[in-house]
């Protein structure tokens, strides 16, 4: 078992912006993956995405509850999830994109499972490394959440990597779609390694980890899977580096939030 070693150093609460970054990542990808519920390509995958979302939204809830405790002032997990707007969200841009290939006519009409799988693979490969390190966070609550999340994300990585290999090393059609999804999404992963004030502050406190430190491990994990999948890693992108974790998002996040938040905003404080 992954015992969490209690730190000798006095506990330090992670910066709120850093916790929100982790929570928003989990919530937005959880919301996106849940779009497959009832629409999965096969029933097993429908269930897989529903389970994956359940884990991610569960992780987001634990993190938001922690933030709410730190912030006080009436904040709850619900106010954080449902009553913040696009510029307040700190998730990677990668996670808010629709499940469609680049240049799709309409996002909803061209939902593509290879895009879903590639995104989940790229993100899960990062998060196994992040949660592994965060088990030793100086913030005891974050360390506890990390220990749980690590167990879950290992299953997500297993699932997405397995399908990545099946698609890549599958038929001509599945190979082409997986390669197109990879070419489309890989440039967005450059954001993982960019500096942000929240990550730098969290790293300095020992409460967080700067993903830049994980880049070599992530590369090794990704390259091994791509080789097995007979997919080609696209050349490093030289263009704009997305800034979702700084609150600067693509046009897609607003639509995700509109759908996710409309019920809570139409009936504030409602319970059931």
């Amino acid at each position: 078992m992954n015992a969490v070693e209690p730190r000798m150093a006095a506990s330090v609460q992670a910066p709120v912006d850093y916790l929100l970054h982790l929570a928003d990542n989990a919530l937005i990808l959880g919301q996106r993956n849940a779009e497959w519920c009832g629409h999965g390509p096969i029933i097993e995958e429908d269930l897989s995405m529903a389970n994956n979302s359940l884990d991610l939204i569960g992780q987001a809830r634990l993190l938001y509850q922690h933030v709410a405790t730190l912030q006080g002032n009436g904040a709850t997990e619900d106010t954080l999830a449902y009553f913040r707007d696009v510029p307040d969200f700190r998730n990677y841009t990668l996670l808010e994109l629709p499940h469609s290939p680049a240049l799709a006519g309409t996002a909803r009409g061209d939902r593509d499972y290879a895009t879903t799988i590639v995104r989940n693979f790229l993100y899960s490969a990062l998060m196994v490394l992040v949660w592994e390190r965060l088990q030793g966070s100086t913030d005891p609550q974050l360390a506890a959440i990390a220990a749980k999340s690590l167990k879950e994300v290992r299953y997500h990585l297993r699932h997405s990597r397995d399908w990545l290999v099946r698609f890549g090393d599958g038929t001509d059609e599945s190979h082409a779609r997986a390669q197109a999804a990879l070419d489309h999404l890989m440039p967005y992963t450059t954001e993982f390694w960019a500096d942000s004030a929240a990550e730098t502050a969290a790293q300095a406190q020992g409460a967080g980890v700067h993903p830049g430190a994980l880049r070599a491990d992530w590369d090794a994990l990704v390259d091994a899977a791509l080789q097995e999948a007979t997919l080609v890693r696209p050349a490093p992108a030289k263009g704009y580096v997305t800034e979702g974790k700084q609150g600067i998002h693509s046009e897609h996040l607003g639509f995700v939030l509109a759908e996710m938040q409309s019920l809570a905003r139409a009936h504030p404080g409602a319970t059931w």
């Binding site: 078992m1 994956n52 569960g58 949660w131 609550q141 749980k148």
Partner: protein, 176 residues
């Protein structure tokens, strides 16, 4: 399996009252046997605390479990609060041998190897094709000739398997 059963230390009446509570989704095993019910203790303010720990982060049964514990305490006239504790993280290693056998008899293959198995790095990939040694025996006929249908199943904690001898599908309680 080194199942670490929670040994009731004091508060015997409360432990036995809570012993009737089972998992809402798997009504043959108790919360104590699953390792969800962790402790009964006095809080720093002297109030009695019943400590539970969540299984999967998003397990929808946790709300029900908390309500069940609270209702049972109230029915016993016990004034206590329910405390949810995340660390140490719940693991299927805590499941008692009795609980594993009850799961099997109920038709759910119990977790084969715990998180305490010789651990590769966290990022090491769990392979899709199970090695023969790691086969999950069918809970119905005991055959080791089984195959995984899907990594995920009807609840967060289970995967779907199928027996290639008796041809019955079954749930597998995943190691966590």
């Amino acid at each position: 399996m080194n199942a670490t059963d929670i040994q009731p230390a004091g508060h015997t009446a409360i432990w036995s009252a809570l012993e009737v509570l089972t998992d809402p989704e798997i009504p043959v095993v108790t919360l104590r046997e699953l390792g969800i019910l962790r402790d009964i203790r006095r809080g720093t303010d002297g109030m009695l605390e019943v400590v539970i720990t969540p299984t999967y982060s998003g397990c929808p049964a946790m709300g029900q479990i908390e309500d069940d514990v609270r209702a049972t305490l109230a029915a016993q006239g016990v004034e206590a609060r329910v405390v949810t504790q995340l660390a140490p993280a719940w693991t299927t290693d805590w499941m008692t041998d009795d609980a594993r056998e009850k799961l099997r008899a109920y038709g759910i293959a119990p977790p084969r190897c715990g998180s305490a198995m010789p651990a590769p790095g966290a990022s090491a990939v769990l392979r899709f094709a199970a090695l023969p040694a790691a086969a999950v025996p069918c809970p119905h006929c005991g055959s080791a000739n089984t195959t995984e249908i899907s990594h995920f199943g009807s609840t967060a904690c289970k995967a779907q398997y199928r027996c290639l001898d008796c041809m019955e599908p079954f749930d597998y309680f995943k190691p966590y």
